[in-house]
Subunit: 286 residues, 2 copies
């Protein structure tokens, strides 16, 4: 099987590692805007050969893991270049604009819209992890628009990789992912910003930081190049989640100001049920 | 050495485990408002015997790890009960009110005001971890008010436990810890609340959550009984950090609304320097 991975970083590279392990005889061709990344991916044996769009005609499967603004621009060209018997899978954190963009593409049946909910705050080929996707959820959108035998090829791989599959429409995907992923990133980035601003004058402050702070600001290490277009494409949903979050913080502050500590206890106690909810989330083993 | 641990949960229990390992012949006496916790601590061999305040006269060292409102109430009584040769150490996450409360206590010289910056989101005796404090920072306030030989006894233990010691005044401690610890907890609790509120109508939402969400809401599992009095005692500083955090979130939202995606990229890019800062934080090994 000829597999092309376009964008050979954390997401694409982790796919490449699993495919090499799972699919006997698979040849992984790497395409990336960065020559450095390609060389690194070769050196790390994530890919067997460097390639480009001219070669896509021989692909049986293409995995496209690039920022979501590039996805909107590149996926039509990629579909143009592949054969009728090739399945093109993406890993974008937004789905609505991408699906709309491809709606009338003559090769729409070759595309499977995916969002594997997995990753770390790191990026690039060296961040790729074998087994990253095991036990993780893969959201598939508009599955009915993909040719049946191509769905099957992709799903067989996902199953062997140990992914849980969920089907959703692109609008619902973008709305819900704003809450459980996009908002977390903003809350983390702004927490980091608030504390760094303070630190300008108070050099000692980070000596006092513990693992709780580290955990809540972990996502503030994430790539701006990846996240800016996600926020742009999912702007309306993200603004809505942010407004609700800011309101909850404002209410909490007001309870403090008014010395309503029973209210504060009760807010935290109610939110403790997140424990039970989190027990259902498959986490990174790393 | 007779060591009394008052409040035998995560913090006190982890002290007990390390002391048993480090101090040959140490006998650990446990005191706790909860009989269940005491029985659990005995069964887990965290303590050698159950005890009460009447026995405190024979203590060489007392470690008090109870919520900060209880600290303000109990520390004067504990100091009344100990001998002149006993050092009383607390682990409270606030220091200002506690130090003020003990300012004129006749046994002030027996007290060492500490805040070991270590913990997890769990609580109770079963949450105790051996080596929890290794490599962690212990903030000591008003060290000059503690008798020299009692400072020495405590510092020798902290050193053997592998802690980094930092000296600070109580006002500075409470101000800075609001940024690197208290604010993280509120940001996490309110993130959990925002998403749980949404989930009322959308049952599927948590199926989409990944490890990024888990990391940012981890602290929302923390104990309300521990955190409510912390926020109460450190109210002024916490309100200030919250105001700055809310303002930063509001500014980010405005950039989204105005389609200022260059600004958004630049905010995230600037905050990425948290990577370098976090590299300096000693983290839980667990």
């Amino acid at each position: 099987m000829n597999v092309f991975v376009i964008g050979i970083g954390l997401i694409g590279g982790s796919f490449a590692k699993d495919i090499k392990r799972i699919v006997p005889g698979a040849v992984i061709h790497g395409i990336d805007a960065s020559e450095t990344h390609l060389e690194e991916a070769l050196a790390l044996h994530l890919i067997d050969a460097k390639s480009d769009y001219d070669d896509l005609g021989k692909a049986d499967m293409v995995i496209v893991s690039i920022p979501v603004d590039s996805l909107v621009r590149e996926l039509p060209k990629i579909l143009d270049a592949v054969s009728d018997d090739c399945v093109v899978i993406d890993g974008g954190s937004t789905k609505n604009l991408i699906c709309k963009q491809l709606e009338d593409h003559p090769k729409r049946r070759n595309y499977l819209a995916c969002h594997p909910i997995a990753g770390t705050e790191f990026s690039g080929p060296a961040a790729a992890i074998e087994g990253l996707y095991e036990g993780k959820t893969n959201i598939i959108c508009e599955v009915e628009k993909t040719a049946f035998k191509l769905q099957e090829r992709a799903l067989e791989l996902f199953q062997k990789m140990g992914m849980r599959i969920r089907y959703m429409n692109p609008e619902a995907h973008d709305k819900h992912i704003a809450y459980v992923s996009h908002l977390s990133h903003i809350s983390s980035f702004m927490l980091g910003k608030t504390v760094i601003e303070k630190e300008k004058n108070e050099r000692d402050i980070f000596d006092m930081a513990g693992s709780g702070f580290e955990s809540t600001v972990r996502l503030a290490k994430s790539s701006p190049a990846m996240w800016t277009p996600i926020f742009e494409q999912n702007k309306d949903n993200v603004v809505e989640t942010l407004e609700e979050y800011i309101q909850n913080l404002e209410d909490f502050k007001q309870m403090l100001v008014k010395n309503d500590f029973e209210g504060i206890y009760s807010e935290m106690n109610n939110t403790n049920k997140i424990k039970a909810i989190l027990n259902g989330i498959p986490l990174n083993k790393k």
